[in-house]
């Protein structure tokens, strides 16, 4: 059996609906998102947005209810229409607009393409609803549609959307949509104007959806039929679509719910949380898949499910070897060699000799708070001037492993799958294997970051990876490994209005990939920033930096610090660069234990 890549994880978009429902692991976020209200779901790549969205489509709910739905889906009473937005389509859209002789017309045609795509998705869901089920008993969403009503419905839709099917049936209408999309696409590809297109008659997305749903409910004789449009990957949709849909959550049609999923950062440099007139919390609720702890419980459930599918007993956590490291001993040992640390402990009334046994009341709480910092500091300073050693065992263990992957479902599935293949040879996931898997994932993610260029900037950064590494180096060399021990090291950063577009965009790209994470923090007035971000803990083991939140600083102070340190201690920068270069070139880690 070949060993799967850690990225050989599933893509929820491609899974058959039956399998999606079978493999579904309940999520705390679903309960909130599945409510009978407009919602926005924000999450990075692989965070589970598409799974959640697709689970709400009528086909999936129908299957789930027949099989005994999870609690969060039991109460679903709306008919979900899943509307995917394809990354390839988004690239084509950009090329159409770039090559267009008449950009306004091209924009209109691109918007029409999107509207037709949405209509086709509606008809897909409708087809499911009107097709008899082979399952016994009442099936959610199923309904009868007579030939006469179907004809009437299609005639109404044809008039509304200016289509020309060969028959007034739903399959014929779908074929007409396909044909029309093909015609528009050919016109856009050729860059020609679409002189005969009666653009002024084509309905807006809002009017189109509102009217279509009304016609459908009429045909199905369901006056109160409630439909839910599940727009996925909206950051790829035509410009303005997101804002247009957001507007519809306020005072939009009452028989339609909108649920929107998107990445944290959009290309128009806005964030998922920028608002127009719609008022968050009042018109829609926001579910953020990236903020806070996704939950070890979820990771456990996911891992256990994978184990069962692959035929192994027990729990996923049970297979993880946990590192046996006494951090207090490490603190005690290092304190005797680091005068700044010793001074800090002294100021807080902690004797070096009693560190290992000091009670919480007498300073144990403080020691616990700084021990990871100290442990990493001792490693960083001992390596100064030498080639970096292997990743630290401190980052192994089930909870650390999951935290490094930010509890991202796709990464977890890929990583767990890789680990589980090893169970053919061993009966546990030892620390070496865990760190190998983390390193492999980190290298692949870093490689992807390296492909994303940054516009010209003052800091000499050429790619998004450069930015991430620069921040990590600053945390490592100044905040943790600096001359003076800092109990309140900085590891989080903010984006200001004055932050350059190039840096802002680079951070956005990294955020959408899950390599930069937004955190809920209280931002004090002195900093007066909008967003607090940190590097993904995926980089912690590589750079020996803590996987715990630290203090916040403006991003500029992370980026520019290396430059100043270059002036003071040029050999350090050179050494680091050489070390990093060696590490990047050498794909085979010779693991040693610290």
């Amino acid at each position: 059996m070949s060993v799967p890549s850690v990225f050989e994880s599933f893509n929820a978009k491609l899974l058959p609906t039956k399998q999606l429902v079978e493999d579904y692991v309940p999520s705390q976020h679903m309960m909130q998102f599945a409510s009978r209200s407009h919602s926005i779901l924000v999450g990075t790549r692989g965070s589970g947005k598409t799974t959640i969205m697709r689970m709400l489509q009528v086909e999936a709910v129908s299957i789930a209810k027949l099989r005994g739905a999870p609690e969060e889906l039991l109460g679903t009473t709306y008919y979900g229409v899943y509307v995917p937005t394809d990354r390839m389509w988004a690239k084509q859209k950009d090329s159409y607009l770039e090559g267009a002789a008449d950009r306004n017309l091209a924009n209109l045609l691109v918007a029409r393409l999107f509207s037709l795509h949405v209509l086709d998705c509606v008809l897909t869901s409708l087809t499911f609803r009107v097709t008899p089920s082979s399952a016994a008993g009442e099936v959610f969403g199923k309904v009868q549609l007579s030939s006469a009503n179907e004809e009437l419905l299609v005639r109404n839709l044809v008039e509304l959307w200016e289509l020309s099917p060969v028959l007034y049936t739903i399959p014929a209408l779908r074929m007409a949509i396909t044909r029309h999309i093909s015609e528009i696409t050919k016109t856009l590809s050729s860059g020609a104007t679409f002189a005969n297109m009666p653009t002024e008659k084509f309905p807006s997305l809002e009017l189109g959806l509102r009217s279509s749903v009304s016609y459908i409910n009429l045909a199905l004789e369901e006056n109160e039929g409630l439909w839910c449009f599940l727009f996925d990957e909206l950051e790829l949709a035509p410009a303005g679509t997101y804002n247009q849909l957001l507007e519809l959550t306020r005072g939009g049609p009452t028989n339609i719910i909108f649920k929107l999923a998107l990445a944290p950062y959009r290309e128009d440099n806005a964030t998922a949380f920028d608002q127009t007139d719609a008022f968050a919390g009042h018109d829609y609720n926001t579910v953020n898949l990236q903020a806070g702890e996704r939950g070890l419980d979820f990771a456990r459930a996911l891992g256990d499910s994978l184990l069962r599918r692959k035929g192994f007993p027990g729990t996923i956590e049970g297979y993880f070897q946990e590192p046996e490291i006494n951090l207090r001993t490490a603190v005690a040992e290092y304190a005797s060699r680091d005068s700044s640390l010793a001074a800090y402990l002294g100021r807080n009334g902690i004797e070096i000799d009693s560190i290992e046994k000091v009670s919480d009341k007498a300073g144990g709480t403080l020691v616990r708070k700084i021990q990871k910092n100290v442990f990493l500091r001792s490693r960083i300073r001992s390596e100064r001037g030498k080639a970096p050693r292997s990743p630290l065992r401190i980052f192994a263990g089930f909870s650390s492993f999951c935290r490094a992957l930010e509890h991202n479902p796709r990464l977890l599935i890929g990583a767990f799958s890789r680990l589980i293949t090893d169970l053919d040879r061993n009966n546990a996931f030892d620390e070496v294997l865990q760190l190998e898997v983390l390193s492999s994932i980190e290298r692949k993610c870093s490689a992807q970051l390296g492909l994303q260029p940054i516009d010209r900037n003052r800091n000499g950064l050429r790619s998004v990876r450069d930015l991430i590494y620069r921040i990590a180096q600053t945390i490592r060399d100044r905040e943790i490994g600096g001359v003076t021990f800092r109990p309140d090291y900085a590891s989080m950063f903010t984006i200001r209005d004055s932050t350059s577009f190039a840096i802002r965009e680079a951070v956005g790209i990294a955020q959408n990939m899950g390599m930069v994470v937004e955190e809920d923090v209280d931002i004090d007035d002195a900093v007066s920033e909008k967003r607090a971000l940190r590097l993904s803990y995926l980089f912690s083991h590589r750079f020996s930096i803590p996987d715990i939140r630290g203090r916040i600083m403006p991003i500029e102070r992370f980026i520019s610090r290396i430059k100043r340190s270059n002036k003071v201690r040029p050999h350090l920068a050179d050494t680091l660069v050489k070390a990093l270069k060696n590490e990047q070139d050498d794909d085979s880690h010779q693991l040693e234990f610290f």
Partner: protein, 383 residues
């Protein structure tokens, strides 16, 4: 992809589109680019022979290299090929050590399979069998007697002893039951009245007996792919049971037809077979898509021809019964509603084209018709 008829000399470029100059062929590049652009994946590449034209050995090498290149670049793990009458040197024109097949036996990559033992068996016994786990693959050399006498090269043949040898092997315990049995040969196994407008003498002698006996062997469904006649056709072969083989004539990829008769266009076919349903039904169940080559345009879905661009096989329904069912469901309505159409659509999709034509005729007799939109059936309407 059948009947490539690869050529190299300038004067022969009227014979085939697959013509090579200085080792390169524009048609080959276009075909590869087209297939790559489809973005699809295939498990097998089937080539039922006539890779070269008039036994030209250099051309055979070009054609076979092209087939292997296609497989490599499209990530197709297995090629299933057989020689055709044009591949055998039946006129013995290589004077020194003349042997109709020797150039094929020593070519690189190996031909017709990549496995020594299979090739040894094929050249020795004129057939070979591979258990490919999900299916059985049987390859027969129906041109094996070409070069023995001048009349043999006019038709195909499976010798009675060879046939018996093969049938006994299929019936034996060594031959496993699989969801599908794929038989690839160059000549059509059953004479066809459409061939050359007169009694067909080119068919495989012994072929009718072969397909009848194979289907009686109780080893699963049989799907036969052949070339030679440069016509795309699909039909149910004769059998003592209703689970007879499906025979698929692959036409020609590149041979330049001298007439414009329907069905003689240059074609590539993508066939999808549902192994589970084939096993359940005892008969191959699937669909196919055909692309045609137009010299000035390239590869595209056909706009005319004996067959639609998209068809099927394996439906257990009969045209008359389906027509009656459609009428019953339609009742007095003007059109068939979606729920009924979707149920019937699957049955219609898997009718062989002949049955589909019959269905359309039966419906027409009742004042009904299958509605099409860009070669895709979308419903039933009153005419």
């Amino acid at each position: 992809m059948s009947d490539l008829h690869a050529v190299t000399a300038k004067g022969q470029s009227d014979t085939s589109y697959l013509s090579y100059y200085d080792g390169k062929s524009e048609f080959a590049e276009r075909t590869l680019a087209f297939l790559k652009g489809l973005g699809e994946s295939w498990d097998l590449l089937v080539c039922p022979g006539d890779i070269t034209d008039k036994a030209d050995q250099a051309n055979f090498e070009y054609g076979w290299t092209f087939i292997n290149r296609l497989a490599g670049e499209l990530s197709i793990s297995k090629i299933v090929a057989v020689p055709g009458n044009h591949d055998h040197n039946s006129r013995l024109e290589d004077v020194i050590g003349a042997d109709p097949k020797i150039h094929m036996q020593y070519i690189t990559p190996q031909f017709p399979t990549s496995v020594d033992s299979l090739n040894e068996h094929f050249w020795a016994w004129r057939w070979c069998h591979e258990d490919a786990q999900l299916l059985n693959i049987v390859q027969i050399d129906t041109s094996a007697f070409h070069g023995f006498s001048s009349s043999e090269r006019d038709h195909g043949r499976i010798h009675p002893r060879t046939r018996l040898h093969l049938i006994n092997h299929v019936k034996s315990a060594e031959y496993p039951v699989r969801a599908l049995n794929l038989l690839v040969c160059h000549h059509h196994p059953i004479p066809l009245p459409i061939v050359e407008g007169r009694d067909d003498y080119q068919a495989m002698a012994g072929g009718s007996e072969l397909v009848t006996e194979l289907s009686s062997a109780n080893k699963g469904a049989w799907f036969v792919i052949h070339g030679h006649i440069h016509m795309h056709y699909i039909y149910n072969a004769q059998s003592y049971t209703s689970e007879g083989p499906i025979v698929f004539s692959a036409g020609s990829v590149a041979y330049k037809s001298q007439d414009d008769g329907a069905g003689s266009q240059n074609q590539i076919h993508s066939i999808e077979i549902d192994l589970e349903l084939s096993k359940t039904n005892g008969s191959p169940y699937g669909t196919f898509v055909t692309w045609e080559y137009q010299p000035t345009i390239g590869w595209q879905l056909p706009v005319q021809g004996a067959l639609t661009w998209r068809g099927g096989f394996g439906s257990s329904e009969r045209p008359t019964k389906l027509a009656n069912l459609i009428q019953e469901r339609l009742g007095a309505d003007k059109q068939l509603k979606t729920a009924d159409w979707l149920e019937l659509e699957q049955m219609i999709l898997h009718l062989i084209p002949g049955d589909l034509n019959a269905l359309e005729q039966r419906l027409k007799d009742s004042g009904l018709g299958l509605a099409k939109d860009e070669n895709r059936y979308v419903g039933v309407r009153r005419l």
